[in-house]
């Protein structure tokens, strides 16, 4: 399926689960309701017209200033049909709040590590995560969530002199 028809197809089939969809640089991007996040992903994987059985990338973005929360962005694609799309969802959070969302591990096992990374670096809690340990940071790390914007960090972060 080419990107245009994919955009149309998803918008029509899953209209109650998404907030909006648009074309960004040739790839369909959809804004998903946080509570429908896991179910939509599962459907897109199982739908024989989309067959999104692989994850290309899964990232979290700190949009607390701009949109008032964290965004999860996942790019999924199909090896067989050779198309991809991007899903986004906004998790509202202010200041030091830790947002929560259901884990995607049940849909694509590869997201386990991605989510572990997001959990420790951004401070997003994934409910029912099968392996909620630190991935990158040491087990006894307690200096906060380093990838959050404005994290000033600890003694060992050196900032260049201006």
């Amino acid at each position: 399926m080419d990107s245009e028809s994919l955009l149309k197809y998803v918008q029509e089939e899953y209209s109650e689960r998404i907030i909006g969809g648009e074309m960004v640089k040739g790839v369909p991007v959809f804004e998903v309701k946080p509570e429908k996040w896991v179910s939509l992903c599962g459907m897109l994987r199982d739908d024989s017209d989309t067959m999104m059985h692989s994850v290309s990338n899964y990232t979290a973005v700190d949009y607390r200033e701009k949109h008032g929360g964290f965004k999860l962005v996942i790019t999924i694609f199909s090896h067989i049909l050779n198309h991809r799309l991007t899903l986004e969802t906004l998790l509202p959070a202010k200041d030091d709040e830790i947002p929560e969302i259901e884990t995607l591990a049940t849909v694509w096992p590869t997201t386990i590590w991605f989510e572990r990374e997001h959990a420790e670096l951004f401070g997003i809690e994934f409910i029912n995560h099968p392996d909620p340990r630190h991935l990158m940071l040491d087990d006894d790390w307690d200096e906060g969530y380093p990838m959050r914007r404005g994290w000033t960090g600890t003694d060992f972060v050196v900032k260049p002199d201006k």
Partner: protein, 173 residues
């Protein structure tokens, strides 16, 4: 410390043993300098250059009598090749402690010297190996060329050759 390293100290007590001591010392030092077995401590990019490419045919560490040992118990030299993170730092210290005396450390590359390109704005990288273990030779570069690794080994050999026997036996006992 092996038994033989106490030899010069005993010799000194013999009348006229001074000359003997220097000769023995020189010989022992020479043997240590000619057989620096290094432990594989490849952490990042420098491991490819410093340990693999330097060990391969074109540069050939073996010419200097240097072979790699996988076990720290059997190595004399630790070439810390690459970025040392705080998480790895603890493990490095353990491995260093496991090496038998006399032992040497070469910090290879910018990251091992002081953090290198990961000095600023970085929350996980240790700013230099010398924060946790004593370093004998620093090699600049990112990554250093194999030639500079060989040069560092020659420098270390020079250093070992000049060592006084009492020095390292006193410092560790």
């Amino acid at each position: 410390m092996g038994i033989i390293s106490k030899l010069p100290a005993y010799m000194e007590t013999i009348p006229g043993g001074g000359i003997l001591t220097t000769t023995t010392e020189k010989l022992l030092n020479l043997s240590r300098a000619s057989s620096l077995w290094y432990m594989l401590f490849g952490l990042a990019c420098c491991a490819i250059e410093g340990l693999m490419a330097t060990g391969a045919s074109r540069y050939d560490f073996d010419r200097f009598g240097m072979i790699f040992r996988a076990s720290p118990r059997q190595s004399d030299l630790m070439i810390v090749a690459g970025t040392l993170t705080h998480k790895m730092g603890k493990r490095l210290k353990v491995l260093y402690d496991q090496m038998p005396d006399p032992k040497y450390v070469i910090a290879m590359g910018g990251c091992a010297n002081n953090g290198g390109p990961f000095y600023y704005d970085c929350y996980s990288v240790m700013k230099g190996v010398d924060k946790i273990v004593p370093v004998d030779i620093y090699i600049p570069g990112c990554p250093p060329r194999p030639e500079s690794v060989l040069e560092a080994c020659i420098q270390l050999q020079e250093k070992v050759k000049k060592e006084k026997m009492g020095k390292w036996s006193a410092s560790t006992e």
